[in-house]
């Protein structure tokens, strides 16, 4: 399928729309994770609106790129981005976490076309990507890419490092991992709960090519993915430094918002901030 071409400015506005929907979904659901999905909005916008080959009208397309969300609790950002990309109606986003909804609290592949994996329990995405990559190699498919979005707290899981070892050993060059390096997890800052640094050195030691970027800079995300695709002899890990709660002043960098939704008042405040682009313009719904 031909990709939509959006300018960086248009992509940034798209990411802002997606953030607004994340706030609305979470407030309506009354539970769920706020900080991660807001912080990931730029990465998901870049992936779905620029980086990936995919077709919302043909989700089983055999040439499509694959996107695995390993830390399933961040799925509101995936749902919101998929809706904006045309996988399903935007109004369905408000069914998040409700009985009978295709938008389960944690993603279930079999319920919603376009999801590539079921996740929630952490640490599995990279290994699934390795399996997919090995299958593609056996099938002589060399032009498909697998993007795996992981949390940084998730890297506490041993399963991640088992997958990292295998991908390094097998030189699975069509895997591009993206770590949402927002420095928070449920119990507090990552470096207090379970230190991850030297994170770049760890991945390099496992045989990966590592890029470090500002994960809230859409142009940097697009460039890093392009560079990742140019490196064929190694899997690539992008350490994307993001601001948890990005775009909503009172949520940014506060680990308490990891697993909490906004209440009505907080949502109103957050939406006002997003609609005015942080006070830069006048909101439409004032």
């Amino acid at each position: 399928m031909t990709k939509q071409t959006l300018t960086i400015e248009q992509l940034e506005l798209k990411a802002n729309d997606i953030r607004e929907d994340i706030i609305k979904m979470l407030e309506h659901a009354g539970s769920g994770h706020s900080a991660g999905p807001l912080g990931l909005a730029d990465i998901f916008t870049a992936l779905y609106f620029d980086v990936m080959n995919h077709d919302p009208k043909n989700v089983e397309w055999e040439e499509r790129d694959i996107m695995l969300l390993s830390n399933g609790h961040c799925v509101p950002v995936r749902y919101a981005t998929m809706a904006h990309a045309g996988y399903f109606p935007i109004k369905e986003l408000l069914t998040l976490r409700q009985f009978g909804s295709r938008l389960q609290g944690h993603p279930e592949r079999t319920r919603l076309p376009g999801l590539e994996n079921t996740s929630g329990p952490l640490g599995c995405g990279l290994s699934q990507a390795a399996g997919m990559s090995l299958a593609m190699r056996m099938n002589d498919q060399h032009n498909r890419w697998i993007y795996v979005v992981m949390g940084d707290g998730e890297l506490n899981e041993g399963n991640i490092w088992e997958g990292a070892m295998l991908a390094g050993k097998e030189k699975l060059g069509n895997i591009i991992g993206i770590i949402d390096r927002n420095n928070i997890q449920i119990d507090g800052p990552t470096e207090q709960v379970m230190p991850l640094e030297d994170l770049k050195g760890k991945w390099e030691a496992f045989g990966w090519h590592v890029l470090e970027i500002n994960g809230n800079d859409i142009e940097a995300i697009i460039d890093a993915c392009a560079m990742g695709r140019a490196i064929h002899d190694k899997p690539v890990m992008i350490i994307a430094h993001t601001i948890p709660g990005k775009g909503v002043d009172f949520m940014e960098n506060d680990f308490h918002w990891h697993g909490m939704p906004p209440n009505r008042e907080q949502a109103k405040k957050a939406l006002h901030e997003l609609r005015t682009l942080g006070g830069k313009i006048r909101g439409e719904h004032e």
Partner: protein, 322 residues
């Protein structure tokens, strides 16, 4: 229906059940290019070595990493492969249950989890390696099929059947040489139980290595004047309730036997079925909520009561309660 079996009174060949798996996997690989295999550093032990030698490009060496083993399997299946992933049962599904639950069962990917060296008959390696809880662990998972073949010939058939079935499946294998009681002509279909010996007074329901012991017990019981029906249940889930209930309604007494925990295993499955559909005097032979220990396989089987002698005693006890 008469089922073709080897005469257990004559010379009987002994083969490890896992050998049948190795042969079956090689054949499945020849029949379908999408059959692939991955192993966690036990390629010879689990008999995947035959497949690996023939199809090196379709084999993945995972190393000692069982969580990775099954999640890589999930990824292979996502791309249309039919992955068989093997290790010792104590490690897979022993260590990686949640990954099997989320990335295989809930995610509905047809990964074939193969656990070798199940049961106390592993012998000298001791309790850590004698997997007894695998049937229970796998049986509770929605979407999962659970198979424990009775001998090497049946294991080969089960492996071939799994390769053309689109469900997640657990295959339980044993280490030691086990009497070969079935032949190329003995039927095997996933989900079917088989009456290996007809009888009227008590139903002996068994799986895996214990089916041979049940046939021996039926002989002993014959001499005691008790006519035992032996039902071999290679597929523990989905359970062939029809065949089991028909037999139990006729005999009115049941003994189950398996080389695993009686809690949650075959005995548990039959007890659940009968409690709801046909309450019947019943005894379960198996590991009685305890671990094994080092020893020679036969010594251990006798010590823990996993043999024909104990099945016979249990059969007397349930027929007395009728």
């Amino acid at each position: 229906m008469n089922i073709h079996l080897i005469d257990i009174h004559g010379d009987i060949e002994q083969l490890p059940i896992r050998k049948g798996f190795g042969k079956g996997l090689l054949e499945a690989g020849k029949r379908d290019v999408n059959v692939v295999a991955a192993c966690a550093d036990l390629t010879d032990s689990t008999q995947m070595s035959l497949f690996k030698a023939e199809f090196p490009d379709r084999f993945v060496e995972i190393g000692v990493a069982e969580q990775n083993l099954v999640t890589v399997g999930s990824g292979l299946a996502a791309m249309g492969k039919i992955p068989f992933v093997s290790s010792y049962a104590a490690f897979s599904p022993g260590r990686n249950w949640e990954q099997i639950r989320t990335t295989i069962c809930l995610n509905d990917r047809p990964v074939k989890v193969v656990g070798s060296h199940a049961g106390v008959s592993v012998g000298p390696d001791g309790a850590t390696h004698q997997m007894l809880e695998d049937i229970a662990l796998m049986r509770v998972l929605p979407n999962m099929v659970v198979i424990a073949p009775g001998d090497a010939v049946e294991a080969e058939k089960a492996t071939l059947a799994m390769a053309t079935d689109n469900r997640p499946t657990y295959l339980r294998l044993a280490r030691e040489a086990t009497p070969v009681i079935t032949t190329a002509d003995t039927p095997f279909k996933i989900g079917d139980a088989y009456v290996f010996k007809p009888g009227n007074d008590v139903t002996l329901i068994t799986t895996g290595t214990m089916t041979y012991q049940a046939l021996l017990a039926a002989d002993l019981l014959q001499k005691d004047g008790i006519s035992a029906e032996v039902i071999h249940v290679p597929t523990i889930k989905p359970l062939d309730a029809k065949t089991i209930l028909a037999s139990v309604r006729k005999t009115g007494a049941v003994v189950t036997a398996e080389e695993g925990q009686i809690i949650g295993g075959l005995g548990g499955a039959i007890a659940e079925l009968l409690a709801e559909e046909c309450p019947t005097p019943m005894k379960r032979i198996g590991m009685l909520d305890r671990f094994g220990e080092s020893g020679a396989p036969n010594e251990l089987l006798e010590h823990f009561g996993l043999d024909a002698k104990h099945i016979r005693l249990a059969a007397h006890s349930v027929t007395d309660r009728k």
